[in-house]
């Protein structure tokens, strides 16, 4: 129904991800969004860190940059500022973006640099075999929280908002059509935008927490997803364990590269250093 092929590096297929990993669903939603916007392959640079999700850029026929763990946003900052006309999309995981990379995440949000961050939140470090992440819920097991996680998890969308992001949305792989729309809006937004995607990792997270098959995990997502509108009418107790989806932030404010361009322009019309 949709021609994914023109955006793909088909010779790299099949995907390395496990059976039932949600990452591929997000990839597809991303490509549909890009297609809708009408961006050409050359106009996009996709930057990732290290993790299962961060392997994504290897499959897409854009300018692709697979960096060091946690630093995707820092590298992307260089790409974007050096070439502001480029659409720069960051693909990252919960560990990559909010554990080791947490600082770059909040600073890019603060600067309101025009990047689009697609954050694959599977509540675990998938790539390294299932260690606890800053988004693993309290009580859940991971290879480094064998007795159940003691640490409260981040609300990573809330963090982006507090740090200054222009656009923040949360979706799930079950709501793939909604996701596509969020991603489209996020890319179109001139400013720092985040789409947090809740995606299942049956291998490193689901299995250890007896969450059943990948299908069960998606079904759970379906049941637990609550739109922002509905959530507004629910009590905190009712919201316990739910995933609130929707566009959480959508504001307009000065974007970094545009402000910089203005400054350069002003300086051109001025002689001498003062």
């Amino acid at each position: 129904m949709f021609e994914y092929a023109k955006y793909l590096r088909l010779n790299k297929f099949p995907l390395i991800w496990c059976a039932g990993c949600g990452d591929g669903i997000v990839l597809k939603a991303m490509l549909r969004a890009i297609d809708k916007i009408g961006l050409s392959n050359d106009e996009i640079t996709m930057v990732s860190g290290i993790g299962c999700s961060s392997r994504l850029p290897g499959y897409v026929d854009f300018n692709t940059l697979h960096t060091t763990h946690g630093r995707a946003i820092a590298f992307a900052t260089g790409v974007k500022i050096a070439k502001p006309e480029m659409t720069v999309i960051v693909v990252t995981g919960d560990g990559d973006a909010t554990a080791i990379g947490g600082n770059h995440y909040i600073h890019a949000a603060r600067r309101n640099l025009d990047l689009t961050v697609i954050l694959f939140n599977n509540n675990i470090y998938g790539m390294t075999g299932g260690q606890v992440s800053p988004t693993t819920p309290v009580g859940k097991k991971a290879s480094t929280s064998p007795y159940g996680n003691l640490e409260p998890s981040f609300n990573i969308s809330g963090l982006a908002q507090a740090a200054g992001a222009s656009f923040v949305a949360r979706g799930t792989v079950h709501g793939a059509h909604m996701l596509e729309k969020f991603i489209e809006k996020a890319i179109r937004k001139k400013g720092f935008s985040v789409v947090e995607v809740i995606t299942p990792c049956p291998t490193a997270y689901g299995r250890r927490n007896r969450m059943g098959t990948a299908v069960n995990m998606i079904q759970d997502l379906k049941e637990n997803a609550v739109t922002l509108k509905k959530a507004a009418k629910m009590s905190p107790e009712e919201l316990e364990g739910k995933v609130v989806t929707g566009v959480l932030v959508d504001i307009d404010k000065p974007e970094y590269t545009e402000e910089y361009a203005k400054l350069s322009e002003q300086l051109k019309n001025k002689v001498g250093v003062d």
Binding site: I16, C18, R55, M127, T128, G129, T203
Partner: protein
Amino acid sequence: MGMRYEVRLSGEGGQGLVLAGKILAEAAAIYDGKNATQSQSYGPEARGGASRSEVIISDEDIDYPKATNIDLLLALTQESSDKYSKDLKENGILLVDSEAVTKLPEGNFNVYKVPISEIARSKIGKVVVANIVALGIIAELSTIVSIDSLESAVLARVPKGTEELNLKAFRTGMEVAQELLK
């Protein structure tokens, strides 16, 4: 120099070959009093794809813990058979899952074709114990570890509550091998 027996268990990620290797090594080391090492290689990714687990059994110190001159190779998939058979020694034992491996590697080997996964499914009722079935076959084909030791090692390693099942799988493997050797 002394005896050195090299076993390579190959297949794909998730088939329990690391566990099988570890059981084999423990049988030799803890129960038979030999020396043993077990090691594995991962693909570029930590999961999926061809995977191998190697056991070296020796009656002296094991210097190099990787297999280079293999006495017995188990291949559960075509890919692993293609990829990992090159170090199998002349006249070495090649045990393949006959349903998965249709094209045998070239060379002068003692080949045994057994529908290992199929046996696990049909005779034990669980594909996941194919690794233990294979161990039973290997025990008979190689005779490098005593049956008692292997049974003890299996029982010590498998999850609680699955002892019976695994013992059955192991013995089924042995029986299959005995048929083959007849």
